[in-house]
Symmetry: C2
Subunit: 545 residues, 2 copies
């Protein structure tokens, strides 16, 4: 009996099948991508999130390959962590591999990991799998999807894609290869659902050239363009526009500088040497002769645009006449930060352009009509929407039904839900426990929701800490020490603190002695008192000596 093919999207809530997917046949596993997620607003203090791959814990030795679709953080950011557990080669295209090398070097893993360069159009075998990377267009060059011929059938994974006929790097997606897969017969299509709520066709990267031309024509002073550090295509377009309009270009922001350097060295960014200048030179040039590219398009306070907006950047401050362009779309959850940054830049005298009011950004993902084309090009037996929240997957699934795929052949699942494929059957297995691995400071996975929930309580109302010495009979000796932060303003609380001391003294006296549960009981009495007085619930802790 042939074992079934298992497809397991790994991770927590958030986008499904985005960051890491396991494809498993018997004793052989290949992984597609190993990216990080960014914390939501209520995951307090968390830096980044690694998908929970504990599904692999007892199977690390069965992993034969890690296939990477492209070099964005949400597809490669978890590699430094994953590759400490897994001894298998990473397969990626040259630019993607260049970006991965930097990450592995930072984690001291560069010399222990086997990196293998692939090109779109290659065909190679890994165990029982035949792998065929194919070129797709996205907002970073050198992206691929994968055709994976398994003993059960051919699987096609699109990666992040859009059907851009005129991408910034001039390399349109490989329609012929998709048609060829289709002719061979595709068992399952795993396809990007990001924009399944966007009607029509995503505009080409090329359309931004016009928007940029208009910005450059109208700007009297300096132009500062913020975008994602990894949006290599956008950097190319700014460079092209700078050449057309006779401006020099400077780049600030460490990650963007690093990525640009790698992409230029590998030939994926074509920027003439003579237009590149250092930021210190750029700020001394006539304003109409420079364009500056910067990180921080999501309004992150610590990135370049955030620091400029707060007047805290070392090399660059806003001056009257500056035109600042946010060439990015605010990721849900970041809108407030983005708009606050924009408001602050306006306050400092800049003119600010962003995607809502100027043609300065397009999505890197397919819209509904492209998603239809992908389904009809591939004509899969089974459709597995991935890359999106549940709502996106549902809409993608519905679209599949509209195109004639039977509803029972479409699998909409959450991360952690294994799918079993036989040549004529798709089974959805029960979801496994697990979800996120939080990265906080130097800790990876050492804290979970209980700590985050405590942080949320502290964020709501701070803490109230009591240290009291008491006699065995419960009589308070000496001074009661109270420390509080994040609860009330320290200048206006003398009466509240005195009343709290009374509550502590009374509770201890009534208890008549220092038994096991006394600290807890005093905490409860103090909590109740503070809530009655303020309608706030700080975390109360009492130490009785």
């Amino acid at each position: 009996m042939i074992p079934k093919l298992r497809i397991v999207p790994l991770g927590g809530l958030g986008e499904i099948g985005k960051n890491m997917t396991a494809i498993e046949f018997g004793e052989q596993i290949i992984l597609i991508d190993a990216g990080i997620m960014f914390p939501e607003n209520d995951m307090l203090g968390i830096d980044t999130i690694i998908p929970d791959y504990s599904y692999l814990d007892d199977k690390f030795d069965k992993v034969l390959a890690v296939l990477i679709t492209h070099g964005h953080e949400d597809h490669v950011g978890a590699l430094p962590h994953l590759m400490q557990d897994i001894d298998a080669p990473i397969y990626a295209t040259p630019l993607t591999l260049g970006l991965i090398e930097g990450k592995l070097r930072g984690a001291n893993l560069l010399h222990t990991v086997d990196l293998r360069t692939i090109e779109a159009g290659d065909i190679f075998n890994v165990g029982s799998f035949k792998i065929e990377p194919f070129h797709v267009a996205h907002s970073i060059p050198d992206c691929v999807g994968f055709g994976i011929t398994t003993p059960v059938g051919l699987i096609v994974h699109t990666g992040d894609y859009k059907f851009d006929h005129t991408p910034a790097d001039g390399w349109p997606p490989d329609f012929a290869k998709l048609a060829e897969f289709s002719n061979r017969g595709v068992l399952a299509l795993l396809a990007d659902s990001t924009n399944s709520d966007k009607p029509g066709w995503t505009p080409s990267e090329n359309t931004i050239a016009e928007g940029f031309d208009e910005v450059f024509r109208n700007a009297q002073g300096r132009i500062i363009i913020a975008t994602f550090a990894s949006l290599i295509s956008r950097i190319q377009q700014v460079a092209d526009t700078a050449v057309r309009h006779g401006r020099k270009m400077a780049i600030i922001g460490r990650s963007m500088r690093t990525n640009t350097k790698i992409a230029r060295e590998l030939g994926y960014l074509n920027i003439p040497d003579d237009i590149v200048v250092d930021i210190d030179i750029a700020t001394k040039m006539p304003p109409s002769k420079v364009v500056i590219m910067a990180t921080g398009a999501q309004g992150e306070p610590s990135a370049v645009m955030g620091r400029i907006a707060n007047g805290r950047h070392r090399n660059l401050s806003v001056q009257e006449g500056d035109t600042i362009v946010f060439s990015a779309h605010a990721i849900p959850g970041n809108e407030e930060m983005v708009y606050r940054t924009i408001n602050r830049l306006y306050q400092r005298g800049a003119t600010v352009l962003y995607d809502k009011i100027a043609n300065v950004h397009v999505s890197g993902h397919a819209s509904r009509e492209e998603m239809k084309l992908m389904i009809n090009l591939i004509r899969p037996k089974f459709l597995i929407p991935v890359h999106g929240e549940i709502r996106h997957l549902k809409l993608h699934g519905k679209l599949g039904v509209e195109l004639g795929i039977p509803e029972e052949n479409i699998a909409i699942v959450e991360n952690g839900t294994p799918l079993e494929l036989a040549p004529n059957q798709l089974t959805i297995c029960p979801r496994m426990p697990g979800g996120y691995i939080f990265v906080d400071g130097s800790g990876v996975g050492d804290i979970g929701w209980p700590v985050v929930r405590d942080r949320d309580k502290l964020a709501q109302a701070g803490y109230f800490f009591v240290v009291v010495t008491a006699s065995p009979k419960g009589k308070v000796i000496g001074k009661i020490e109270i420390r509080t932060r994040g609860f009330v303003d320290n200048n206006s609380t003398e009466e509240l603190l005195m009343d709290a001391e009374d509550v502590i003294i009374r509770t201890l006296e009534n208890a008549g002695g220092k038994d096991e549960g006394i600290e807890r009981r005093v905490e409860q009495a103090v909590s109740r008192f503070l809530y009655d007085e303020t309608r706030r619930r700080p975390i109360v802790q009492v130490v009785i000596k």
Copy 2:
């Protein structure tokens, strides 16, 4: 010499001139609106925000009237607080006054405040001001703007408006009155800038009827529609659609029930008695025969939709076949919560429709073409964009320039910036300090940014609390007590805590005694140690007995 007219938008950052505006002439002040703001994501633990009106502190007795444009929270929510300080009548239209009464009753102020009913089209005098409320269309009935004839000239304040020819209540805006103002000559126009980044014309409330008809035609099971509690127009439309499609209607959510009751009593909501049912009846009826309206369209976890999404609502849980409609737009900063709620409802088996994928919401504010019409109808000498963030005001100002208003006649200012108007002159005065008054629990204005910043620190990495008894020479006596929350997982920290104890003992020994700054020095040593070990920065507090 005639004193100058002063216009002072009050409040902090955020939307300018939205929540409260003072109009001052010599010893006479009138206020327009008294609303609250909602906290941004980084204003941790804050419930609501009242605009800082300390500008009025020494002038409370000069306030002659509080004019209210309409009954939304961001225009009336601060009245219970303001009316404790001010002894002047509130002027509002019947529905607005009905909603205000409920608020004042809750604050025990109903019998001490002088409430005066006005109607659009009225003309009345307050001190040297002649006030003319005029009807505008918005997403709640009975909205007005104000024409205010002052000794310096005629001021027109639009309030929140859209030029809706077919509003839900059938009462279009009073174009004739605007033209009449224009003929008299308008000194300054204060106009809504909310949608100054939206091209074209905001669709009529009426267009939603079609969208709702489609939802009702397609839904096999129950329909649940979430919107703002104060979006009275939307409630009317759902009721109308329910009548057309033969469904009964139930309402859940305290604030929406209260608002509906008031609006029905006053004749602003026309819902036949026989279609209204209680929620307990609704849940027992055939699913295809009911529509349920609910609060929580912003994804607030404590409102009805949030509780349904989490499976924690007393009366209502999602069942297969439910169609849930979010008839609202996510306010910037709320997107993440809204989408999470939608995802959870999908998980529970509902079909969810929202503004991006169905025609179920329109904005209550004018878009750019309407803003142009307003300016050209009024033909003001001076344009003062209000109701929007700085970016919106700037775009509104630019639009005024396009229409021929000289740039120097347009004032774009932040809240707290007085504008002085003479018949031929507009002066922008220096901005006053101040901004927000935070409401947290029962406290109003008792905490400010320092407490919120402490909460942010606690949210990032929690606290680490140490209680130690030491001899006068600095020798530790007995057990060191450590309490920590929100910092590390308590099950995995034994070694860290033991090492921290060593740091405490060493620091105390090295100090050689319990001098004044010893607690601070131990705190610094512990902080440094914890950061080195974990790259996290909890708030460290040390009490030495």
